[in-house]
C-alpha cells in the first residue's frame, strides 16, 4: 500500500467504534461464542430422542412425564472462535481507485479489532494469484492486535486473485468462526468455489464486496477503449452512451444479486460496500441489519 491506512487516527477511530458497539450492540457475531456443534455448556439448544448409552443426566424428565417418552436435552458447545479474514489483493482493488484497497484494509482491521475484543483468535490473509498469504496469524488479545495490525499496510495489491483456487488450497479450519472474504468480485473467476469451501468447513460466511464510486455509477461517455488493469489483453472497445450505462448497471445488479444469493444459499451473509462509506455507517447500519452484529 502506498498510503498508510492503519495509523493512530484509525486506531482511535476503531477504539471509539468499539466503545459505541459495546453500548449499543450485544456483541460480535451474536455476542456468544457458541459453536455450531452441541457441547456441554449450560445453554439449552434442542431435544433429540434418547438412545441407549446417552448420558441419563441429560434426560428431560418433565417431558417424559408429559409425553411418556424419553428425550435427551442438547446443550451448545462453547469454545474460542477463530475469525479468518481474506482480502482480495489483486490490482483491480487499487488501480486508479486506491480507496477500494484502503476500505478493504480498514474493514479487515475493524473486524479484527472487534474479534480480539471478544477474545477470539484472528487471522488475516491476502489472496495473491492462487495462493493465500498469511499477513497476521492467530492473533489473540488487544496487545497482539496493536502489535500486528500495522502489517495490513504492507499488503501489495497487484496481479490477479483466483479466490477459488487459493481458498481451496489453504487450511480453512472446521466450524470455528467467521470467514470474511473482502473483494470487489469483479471477476468471473470461480469465487463460488471459495464460498463452497467455507460452507463445507461449516464456517460462518461473510462476503463483502467493495466497489468504487465510478464502478457504482460510471461517468465514462463517448468512444472508449478500456483496458483491464489485471489483464491488458482483456479490453472493452465500444461507444459508451446512455443505453450502455443502463446495461452496465443491469450487469452490476446481476453480479451483486448472484453473489448475495450464493452466499445466502449457504447460510452466509453478503454486503455491498461503497469504497467511500464510513465505517460507523457500515457497522451500525448494514452489519446490524444483516445480523452480523446484534
Amino acid at each position: 500500500m502506498e498510503k498508510t491506512v492503519i495509523d493512530e487516527a484509525f486506531l482511535s477511530e476503531i477504539e471509539a467504534l468499539q466503545s459505541l458497539l459495546q453500548h449499543n450492540v450485544a456483541g460480535m457475531f451474536g455476542g456468544n461464542h457458541q459453536s455450531k456443534s452441541f457441547g456441554s455448556s449450560c445453554e439449552f439448544a434442542d431435544y433429540r430422542d434418547y438412545v441407549p448409552g446417552d448420558d441419563v443426566t441429560k434426560i428431560d424428565w418433565n417431558v417424559y412425564a408429559r409425553f411418556d417418552k424419553l428425550y435427551q436435552k442438547l446443550y451448545l458447545d462453547e469454545r474460542q472462535m477463530h475469525t479468518k479474514i481474506y482480502i482480495d489483493a489483486s490490482r483491480s482493488m487499487q488501480h486508479a481507485t486506491p480507496e477500494k484497497a484502503e476500505q478493504a484494509i480498514r474493514i479487515a482491521a475493524a473486524f479484527a479489532y472487534l474479534s480480539v475484543n471478544e477474545m477470539d483468535k484472528v487471522s488475516v490473509y491476502a489472496i495473491h494469484g492462487d495462493r493465500v498469504d498469511e499477513i497476521i496469524s492467530g492473533m489473540v488479545g488487544k496487545d497482539a492486535y496493536l502489535c500486528n495490525v500495522n502489517l495490513l499496510n504492507d499488503i501489495e495489491f497487484t496481479g490477479v486473485a483466483r479466490m477459488g483456487d487459493a481458498i481451496r488450497s489453504s487450511r480453512i479450519g472446521m466450524g470455528d468462526g467467521y470467514s470474511i472474504l473482502i473483494s470487489d468480485f469483479l471477476t468471473d473467476d470461480d469465487y463460488e468455489a471459495a464460498i463452497d469451501r467455507f460452507a463445507e468447513q461449516r464456517r460462518d460466511i461473510l462476503c463483502l464486496q467493495i466497489l468504487s464510486r465510478e464502478e457504482l455509477n460510471p461517468q465514462l461517455r463517448g468512444k472508449m477503449h478500456l483496458f483491464d488493469s489485471e489483464d491488458q489483453s482483456s479490453f472493452f472497445r465500444k461507444k459508451i452512451d446512455k443505453d450502455r450505462v443502463n446495461a452496465y448497471k443491469e450487469a452490476l445488479k446481476y453480479v451483486t444479486e448472484r453473489i448475495k444469493n450464493y452466499c445466502e444459499a449457504r447460510g452466509g451473509h453478503y454486503q455491498l460496500i461503497p469504497a467511500y462509506q464510513k465505517l460507523s455507517d457500515l457497522f451500525f447500519g448494514d452489519m446490524v441489519d444483516l445480523g452480523v452484529l446484534k
Binding site: H95, E214, E215, H225, F227, D228, D243, Y248
Partner: protein, 581 residues
C-alpha cells in the same frame, strides 16, 4: 449559374472543419480501468437497439454538412440562367440634363435609346421589358411589357429632363429593381462613369471628356446707372479657360475670361453702365453640346401692384395717413352709410367697426368686427370688456407665414381694454396676437379666396396704434395684402415658382420655354409652377383689366463635382460594362 453574393460561399469552409471535428471525435479514448468485467457483461444486458442508432453520428454529420451548404447558398443567392431562355429585361435610364449633351449627330440620350432598342431587338421572344427613367423624378415608363414593338414605341417617346441626378439615386434605383426581381437582367444606361455596378450591366454613353460648361445663378445690383452682375461658371470634365459675356437687353455690354477648375463653381462678375434694363444675360461665348445651360437670363422685376384702397370708417383718417405713408396707393375714405353705393373695385378694403353684408372681391381688413360676416372664416362669441387694460400676447409660432407677418414687430406692452372674442376660425388663419388664448389679430384667406386681416379690438381702445410696432405690422400686412404676382425671376430647373394670384388678376396663361402652355391652379391665393425646362417662362394675365406679362428664367442645375470625369465604385463585381460613343 452565377452567384449574387459569391462571398457567401466562404461558408463552405465550415465543411472541412466539421469533418475534422467528426474525425477527432471518432477517435477512441484509451483508458485502463480496474476491471472490464462489468462492461463486457453489459453486452448481455444491452437492449436491442434501433438499427439507425448505429449511424446516428453519420446522419448527424450529413445533416450538418447539408445545413452549411444550404446556408452558404442562401447567402450567396445563386442565379440560374438557362441557355436560350427568355429574360426579364430592366433598363434603368439616366434622364438627367447631361444626357442632352450632343456628341456627333445624336445626344447622349438618343444614343442610350438606340442601345436599349438594340438589346430589345436582340432579345429572345417571350422576354419582358421594363424601362425606368431616373432624373429629378423616377418614372417607370413601362413595366413587364412583352411586346417588343410596344416597348420600342414607348422607349422612343421618352425624353431627358434638364435636372441633375445623383449617383446614389441612379444606383439606388438599379438596386431596387434588382431586389424586386433578382433574376432580371438589369442594364444601367448613363453618361456617368462607374468602375463597376454589381448585378447590372453598365452601358456608358458619351465621352466624359467632351467639353461641358455651364453658367448659373446670376444676381445683380443696379444703382447710379451702374449694373453689377455676378454669376457662377463651371467646367465639368476638366479645368478650362472659359470666356463669358454680358448681354443687356440683347446687346453685349461686357466680356471676361475665368479659369474654371473642373467640377467647381467659379465666380464671374461684370460691371456695365446702364440706366434701365428689361433683362440681362450672362452666357458662354463658345457654346458646348448642351447649349441650354450655357446662358442665364435675369429679368427686371416689375412692381405691378394694384395699390387702390377703400377705407370704410367713421374715423378713417388715421388709417389713411398710415397706409398713405407706407405705400404709394390711391386711398378713398368713406363712411359705412356710403359703402352700399360703391361700385368701383379696390385692391384692399378696410372695414373699421363695420361689417359688410357680403365680403368684396379683394383683400379685406376687418377691424373690431363684432357681427358675423358670411365667408369671413370665423364666428363671433361676443364683446369682452376688461376691468383694466391688459397686455396682449405676440404669437410664438415659428411658421413661415407668421414670421413673415411679424417681421420687425417686437410686440411688447401692447394693451387693450375691450376685445371681441372669436371662434371657429379657418385652419389657414395665422394668429399674430392673442389675449387669454383668444386670437386678437390674425390673417389668412377668407371663404371668397382673398387675403384677409382681422383686428379683434377697436384701435381707439388700445395703445397699439401709438407704438412703433404698429407701423411695422401695418407695413407687413400691406405687403401681405398687396402681393406681387411673382417674387423672383431666377430659378433653377426642378424648382417650384410661386405665383401670387393677386386681386383683380385674371386670365392666367403660362408658356414654357419650349412653347407649351402650362396649367396652374389659380383658384387659391398662390399658384405653384413646376419648372422642368431650361429657359424663359412667360406668365401672361389680366391685371385690373389690363393685359400684362412677367418672365421667369429657369437655369440649369449644377451637377456637382462628381458628375463627370470621376469614376465611382458602386457595389462590387459586375456583369460587364461597355461604352458607346
Amino acid at each position: 449559374m452565377s452567384f449574387t453574393y459569391p462571398l457567401g460561399l466562404l461558408g463552405l469552409i465550415a465543411i472541412p472543419i466539421i469533418l475534422l471535428i467528426y474525425v477527432l471525435q471518432s477517435k477512441y479514448t484509451e483508458q485502463t480501468v480496474p476491471s472490464t468485467y462489468l462492461w463486457q457483461l453489459s453486452e448481455k444486458f444491452l437492449k436491442k437497439r434501433n438499427p439507425l442508432s448505429g449511424i446516428t453520428g453519420i446522419i448527424s454529420l450529413i445533416l450538418q454538412i447539408l445545413t452549411v451548404i444550404a446556408v452558404s447558398l442562401a447567402i450567396a443567392r445563386p442565379v440560374f440562367t438557362l441557355p436560350k431562355a427568355a429574360y426579364d429585361y430592366c433598363f434603368v435610364l439616366d434622364a438627367s440634363g447631361s444626357m442632352n449633351l450632343t456628341e456627333g449627330k445624336d445626344t447622349r440620350f438618343a444614343t442610350a435609346q438606340k442601345e436599349i432598342a438594340e438589346v430589345i431587338k436582340d432579345s429572345k421572344s417571350g422576354s419582358s421589358y421594363t424601362l425606368i427613367t431616373v432624373a429629378n423624378e423616377t418614372v417607370t415608363v413601362f413595366e413587364g411589357v412583352k411586346s417588343k414593338d410596344t416597348a420600342l414605341e414607348l422607349l422612343s417617346s421618352t425624353r431627358a429632363e434638364h435636372t441633375a441626378l445623383s449617383h446614389e439615386k441612379l444606383l439606388g434605383t438599379a438596386q431596387k429593381a434588382f431586389d424586386k426581381n433578382s433574376a432580371a437582367r438589369i442594364y444601367v444606361i448613363t453618361d456617368k462613369s462607374y468602375e463597376t455596378v454589381q448585378n447590372t450591366e453598365l452601358i456608358s454613353v458619351g465621352d466624359p471628356q467632351t467639353p461641358n460648361h455651364a453658367v448659373f445663378d446670376a444676381t445683380y445690383s443696379h444703382a447710379g446707372g451702374r449694373l453689377l452682375v455676378t454669376a457662377e461658371a463651371i467646367s465639368y470634365p476638366e479645368d478650362a479657360k472659359l470666356e463669358l459675356r454680358l448681354l443687356i437687353d440683347g446687346s453685349e455690354a461686357a466680356r471676361t475670361t475665368v479659369n474654371a477648375i473642373a467640377g467647381t463653381r467659379t465666380p464671374v462678375s461684370f460691371e456695365a453702365t446702364c440706366t434701365a434694363f428689361d433683362s440681362f444675360t450672362v452666357e458662354l461665348v463658345t457654346a458646348d453640346g448642351y447649349a441650354l445651360d450655357n446662358a442665364v437670363t435675369t429679368y427686371n422685376l416689375k412692381s405691378d401692384k394694384t395699390y387702390s384702397t377703400l377705407i370704410v370708417s367713421d374715423t378713417g383718417f388715421f388709417l389713411k395717413a398710415v397706409i398713405d405713408a407706407l405705400v404709394d396707393s390711391r386711398i378713398d375714405v368713406i363712411t359705412p352709410a356710403q359703402y352700399e353705393t360703391v361700385t368701383e373695385q379696390y385692391g384692399l378694403y378696410v372695414f373699421d367697426s363695420y361689417e359688410p353684408s357680403t365680403l368684396p372681391d379683394g383683400a379685406v381688413w376687418l377691424i373690431n368686427a363684432d357681427e358675423s360676416i358670411p365667408d369671413a372664416g370665423f364666428g363671433i362669441r361676443g364683446k369682452i370688456g376688461l376691468d383694466t387694460a391688459d397686455v396682449i400676447e405676440k404669437s410664438k409660432s415659428t411658421a413661415t407665414g407668421v414670421r413673415k407677418l411679424l417681421a420687425g414687430v417686437e410686440g411688447n406692452d401692447i394693451y387693450v381694454t375691450n376685445y371681441v372674442k372669436y371662434s371657429g376660425m379657418y385652419l389657414n388663419f395665422h394668429t399674430l396676437f392673442s389675449y387669454d388664448s383668444n386670437p386678437l389679430i390674425f390673417a389668412g384667406e377668407n371663404g371668397r379666396g382673398y387675403r384677409q386681416v382681422v383686428f379683434g379690438f377697436d384701435l381707439h381702445e388700445s395703445d397699439f396704434a401709438l407704438s412703433s410696432d404698429f407701423v411695422m405690422l401695418m407695413r407687413n400686412l400691406l405687403e401681405y395684402s398687396f402681393p406681387n404676382v411673382i417674387e423672383q425671376t431666377n430659378y433653377t430647373v426642378g424648382d417650384e415658382a410661386l405665383i401670387n394670384v393677386v386681386a383683380n388678376a385674371d386670365n392666367f396663361k403660362i408658356v414654357s420655354p419650349s412653347g407649351k402652355d402650362v396649367y396652374v391652379d389659380t383658384e387659391a391665393g398662390e399658384a405653384v409652377l413646376m419648372l422642368d425646362e431650361i429657359g424663359t417662362y412667360t406668365i401672361e394675365l389680366t391685371l385690373a383689366g389690363t393685359p400684362t406679362s412677367y418672365r421667369i428664367f429657369c437655369g440649369g442645375r449644377s451637377r456637382g463635382k462628381q458628375a463627370c470625369g470621376t469614376a465611382h465604385r458602386a457595389f462590387a463585381g459586375g456583369r460587364g460594362n461597355r461604352r458607346c460613343h
